[in-house]
């Protein structure tokens, strides 16, 4: 598999610094599960964080803080971290990598799809971010997503199938970062339905009158 479309450096840097909100981070982290190159870049960025930590002028703590830590060293350690939701039997590769699979509660067969109209389906994903919406979208093979622009930022990460628009071809692992300047008309490619994770901080704004009319009813 080869990935051609990566998150911007600004996005990776915010993720590495710990400044990126949860819903955006979900898209970035799921891309990272599929992209060794970006993991390496994030590693370099974390190393910049480590260097800043080394270089900063120390600010002493109280003695009691130190004693409290030393006193905790013999505490029994609880169970190790959570266990991954079961991978499909037979060793096949899940369509949804962690961490996305944890948010969905299983792989694509566990998704509670809701009709979106125009043959497409969506499933909202709950995160702790109130102002940012994360959803899975399923676009039927060969079909277009209605022309739309964005009021803010939109990240689209392909998990199954592929889509293409004027900016290129997007397959599994590819991430499109779109802002209000991009008006595009993505089409799922004909081989199979396209499933993507879409994260937006504003409702999509459809350009055609008909799509604008149905938009309030389909909740996209």
């Amino acid at each position: 598999m080869s990935i051609h479309h990566h998150p911007s450096e600004e996005l990776l840097l915010d993720y590495a610094a710990g400044a990126l909100g949860e819903a955006w981070s979900l898209a970035v982290a799921t891309h990272l599960a599929l992209c060794p190159a970006c993991r390496r870049t994030v590693g370099r960025m974390e190393a910049v964080g480590g260097k800043l930590l080394d270089d900063i002028a120390p600010q002493p703590l109280t003695d009691s803080a130190r004693d409290a830590v030393m006193a905790r060293l013999d505490e029994p350690v609880g169970k190790p971290e959570s266990i991954a939701p079961a991978a499909p039997a037979g060793g096949s590769v899940p369509h949804l990598p962690r961490p996305l699979r944890d948010y969905v509660g299983g792989d694509t067969d566990a998704v509670a799809w809701r009709r979106l109209g125009l043959g497409a389906y969506q499933a909202l994903i709950l995160t702790g971010d109130d102002n940012v919406t994360a959803r899975l979208l399923r676009i039927p093979a060969g079909k277009p997503v209605p022309t739309h622009t964005h009021n803010g930022l939109e990240l689209t990460l392909v998990l199954c199938g592929a889509f293409s628009d004027a900016t290129g071809h997007y397959g599994r692992g590819d991430l499109q970062e779109a802002d209000e300047n991009l008006e595009h008309r993505p089409h799922a490619t004909p081989e199979e339905d396209c499933i993507c994770l879409a994260v937006t901080d504003a409702p999509l704004r459809f350009s055609s009158f008909a799509a604008r009319m149905v938009q309030p009813f389909i909740g996209i």
């Binding site: 949860e22 800043l52 930590l53 703590l61 830590v69």
Partner: protein, 170 residues
Amino acid sequence: MADAQDRSAFAALFEHFAPRINAFLQRQGSDPAQAEEVVQETMVNVWRKASLFDPARASASTWVFTIARNLRIDMIRKASRPEPDMMDPAFVPDADPPPEEIIVRNQTAGRLKDAVAKLPQAQQDVLRLAFFEEKAHPQVAEELDIPLGTVKSRIRLAFKSIRSEFGDPS
């Protein structure tokens, strides 16, 4: 039960890192009481996870930075941080690094210091702000009195230099 040698090694780590994590967190806007709590939790985690630390992958300060970062998100922002899981069957592993790269990685900390020090001051400022100020990039642009596009291109240029310093494919 920890033996005395481990404890004194840990005490030395504490002397080095705890006041720095404290300064880092306060620089990011945490108040002293919050910062102290996160520092304590970070150091307890350093102790408990010491066996997971792999010096071939990251320097100690990078490792400690990531532990403090995650605990700050958890304890102060009360949010979750989604992360990939290398044990997941859907995780795409890196092709085995060639042997030279393993050696190179061992020198990461020193080389990274050099790479960052070589960056133009303007690029270093943008990186510092990204870590310390937790500002949206439009605010960074305002603070430095430069256009947003310039913030983005400085970030891009900084990591281009850093990656080429390490011979990463770009």
